[in-house]
């Protein structure tokens, strides 16, 4: 499962070459940081969590057996570090739950999105993602952005398959609901221009 390059670096570190760990950090720091920032919505906090993640990974490197990808292992540590942070500061991270979902015209939303610049689209999707509860945000990010398999996400989050599928479904619906609320005026405006 583990790539040869990762394994070579891990072996070096385990033999005492601490500096070799910086190669792993450089390879995976942006992935870990992206997950942390998606979950915490805060750059400083995400950077702290990323640092903690790599320190924990370094301390526990001998426990990594190589049955899964090294990135999956890092994600697992980062994901739980984020959850620990949420537990500590429960009030700070309270996200409003979205109760219902009304289906909307995907093709008009798609047209509207296409009429925007790529960077604008990304910015809008990012802000919509930020409104989701952190657990839904992370499963969407793992599945659609990082394209991890259900099995890999189950390893990271410790959800059962059924639970994960439900969470993914709900997260997708919630995101679309937010997109709808956010972009409805723009969709109308877009069609007004036609």
């Amino acid at each position: 499962m583990i790539t040869t390059k990762d394994q070579i670096i891990i072996d070096k570190v385990l033999k005492g070459d601490t500096n070799a760990f910086s190669e792993l950090v450089n390879l995976y720091k942006d992935l870990v940081f992206s997950l942390a920032i998606k979950m915490t919505k805060n750059r400083e906090e995400a950077e702290e969590i990323s640092q903690d993640t790599f320190i924990k990974a370094y301390r526990n490197l001998s426990k990594f057996k190589g049955d899964a990808k090294f990135s999956t292992w890092l994600y697992k540590i980062a994901y739980h570090a984020c959850l620990d942070r949420f537990k500590k500061n429960e009030n700070l991270y309270k996200t409003d739950s979205i109760d219902c979902f009304v289906s909307f015209d995907l093709s008009s939303a798609d047209d509207t999105m296409q009429s925007l610049e790529r960077s604008q689209r990304a910015e809008m999707m990012f802000s919509c993602m930020q409104e989701l509860p952190e657990e839904e945000r992370s499963v969407l990010w793992f599945f659609y952005y990082k394209e991890l398999s259900l099995k890999e996400i189950m390893e990271i989050t410790s959800y059962t398959e059924a639970n994960l599928k439900v969470k993914l479904h709900r997260a997708r619906k919630h995101l679309l609901k937010i997109v709808q609320q956010r972009f409805e005026p723009e969709i109308i405006a877009h069609y007004g221009k036609k």
Partner: protein, 137 residues
């Protein structure tokens, strides 16, 4: 059928636009700072988990306890199950006498200490399992 089709379209929509999100980047000094922390902490050496009592010691303890039990049962004239009548006096011969003669502890303190120790041992098992699960893959 229509429901499935709609679900696929929703998936496509979400995937298409989420994949356009840029990968966030850490600050430039991230790696240098992190490596500084790692190198500074001498305790951060990678240890293999070592049990507090090693296998040879467990073996020695097992042999000692077995030997004691063997001596007790071997020289006991009573029934095997009448434990109260077993003669453990031979232990006094090998024990240091009056080592803690001047040292007295109230029985409630002994109970407190006993329960506290028991609680720590129980927690150790749970904590070890919890941490092992978190860092194993």
């Amino acid at each position: 059928m229509e429901k499935n089709k709609n679900s696929f379209r929703e998936e496509d929509f979400v995937k298409k636009y989420l994949q356009e999100l840029p990968l966030e980047e850490t600050s430039e000094k991230f790696t240098a700072l992190l490596m500084g922390v790692i190198l500074k902490e001498k305790r951060l050496k990678i240890f293999q988990n070592q049990p507090l009592i090693s296998k040879p010691w467990w073996l020695a303890i097992t042999v000692f306890v077995s030997a004691c039990l063997f001596v007790v049962f071997k020289f006991s004239e009573n029934n095997f199950l009448t434990f109260s009548s077993l003669d453990f006096n031979f232990l006094q011969k090998i024990a240091l006498s009056n080592l803690f003669a001047s040292f007295s502890i109230s029985s409630s303190l002994v109970y407190i200490f006993g329960f506290f120790t028991l609680m720590i041992f129980v927690q150790l098992v749970f904590l070890k399992n919890y941490l092992n699960k978190r860092y194993s893959l």
